[in-house]
Amino acid sequence: MTQYGQIILDFSYLVAAILFVIGLKLLSKPESAKKGNLYAAGGMVLAMITTLILHKDAHGKGIPLENIILIVTVIAVGTVVGAVVARRVKMTAMPQLVSFYNATGGAASALVALMEFSNPENSSTLVTLLGLVIGSIAFSGSMIAYGKLDGWIKDWLSPAMKYINIIILLVVTALVAYLMVAGDPFMDAEVLVYILFGIALVYGVFFVMPIGGADMPVVISLLNSFTGIAAAMAGFIYSNQAMILGGIFVGAAGTILTVLMCRAMNRSLINVIIGAFGGGGAAKSDKEIGTIKEISLSDAAVLLNYTSKVVIVPGYGLAAAQAQHTCSELDKLLSESGVEVKYAIHPVAGRMPGHMNVLLAEADVPYEKLVEMDDINPELPNTDVVIVIGANDVVNPAALDDPSSPIYGMPIINAHEAKNIIVMKRGMGKGYAAIENYLFYDDKTRMLFGNAKETLQKLVSEIKSL
């Protein structure tokens, strides 16, 4: 009977692992994404239930009933809280919520590793320590990312940071090596492990602290893969196939997603981590800067209403002002009067990859209208008006023709090729990369200053009154 239980448990892990893989695969296509999410969730629930019922410790002892009751209670509380918060939160706050849930996963891994270190039956010291370190970094790093996205933690960049980080990393490596070599549990081992736990937490903070707004998506994705790897390390402690496969799978997927995002910005991962973007100073260019030309709301309304093709380039400013619904309203209004409206989506616009898509989808913008950068660029020379809403670096032509610019080489949306450009911006502040954007000085460009939502609202009522 005992043996059958073990076999069923292992088999359920296999099924769970298959469901994870199929789930993520289905998640990568728009039509099947929802089903994919359900599959993966189903795999998780299955593995949780079979573990609870069938898991035996090294002495063949199952989980006692009182423990089961306690665990089920805790899970029930966690599920209710997690699900309610996830349902209630505003769409614009989605990125920080994902970051927060990633932090909880990292914390769970770190705690499991911390407890298992002192378990005499656990012989895999290396994976335990790795799980502890990686899980702790994922936890504190994700919490900082969460705070930054939520706006209560500011960027903090100091030149010394780079060296401090390297030193911390060396200390962590040394501690892990020492605990490994020291072998048999000795007196101070547990104290050292707590110190390691603390240092790893501090490292997570220092790791994310200097990384600025536009790089946040990359960091969250990276931390996400950390959580996966930490879970896999814990999986080794228990020789648990579902945890190993699920964790490594997410780790690999997260890493490749991170690389894809870096590539979309034409930056190396190292560069993002060191945070050299803002630190490199402003671009040195002797290019002639023209003058800024503003446009009145009524002129903008006329220009938009009596034209045939409009492309909207949304950026973080749109998300920050929560202007997606107003933007969609403008789109509907123009579409009704026969204007063709599309959206140009830069892969890293917003605070997460695909952030703009989710926001605009929430505002009922049809999927077909959202066009990716590479597909929209050839259409831009025939576009009558491009409206840039709260985007900056992703439309900066310096990326194409100014080799001295820090963003040189980054693929951009070629807004400057359109016949007219309207830029909605809060003020003349520079984008995250802190460099001048020549698009704003272009002869074809007209500026509309103000909060994106308010400006859009005024524009909508202006068009209605035409």
Partner: protein
């Protein structure tokens, strides 16, 4: 060197699983439209909550007769893991809800 070989021998099944999972992860993600990056990241995040299994095992075999640090941290581990799993899947579902809704229009 010998230690390394021993390590490989002792863990060869796990190492195979790791290597193949890495390829699988890369393969599954490689051709994703950027539209789905956020839901995908969120879905992957929920799956990384698989650490909940570790939490269940830890707390499952903990001695509940004494109120120890192990019990407290075990409860926290299960709670955090659950938040990651439940929150992660629900957030993903909510994001995808929107894609489906506008598809029908």
């Amino acid at each position: 060197m010998e230690q390394l070989l021993h390590f490989f021998d002792a863990n060869k099944e796990a190492i195979f699983v790791i290597v193949l999972s890495v390829f699988l992860g890369i393969e599954v993600i490689s051709n994703v439209p950027s539209v789905l990056h956020t839901p995908l990241m969120s879905g992957a995040n929920a799956i990384s909550g698989v650490i909940i299994i570790g939490g269940i095992i830890l707390l499952g075999h903990a001695d509940l007769s004494k109120f120890t640090l192990e019990v407290v941290l075990g409860i926290l581990a299960v709670l955090f893991g659950t938040l990651n799993v439940a929150g992660g899947f629900v957030v993903t579902d909510r994001m995808l809800e929107m894609f489906r809704k506008k598809k029908r229009n």
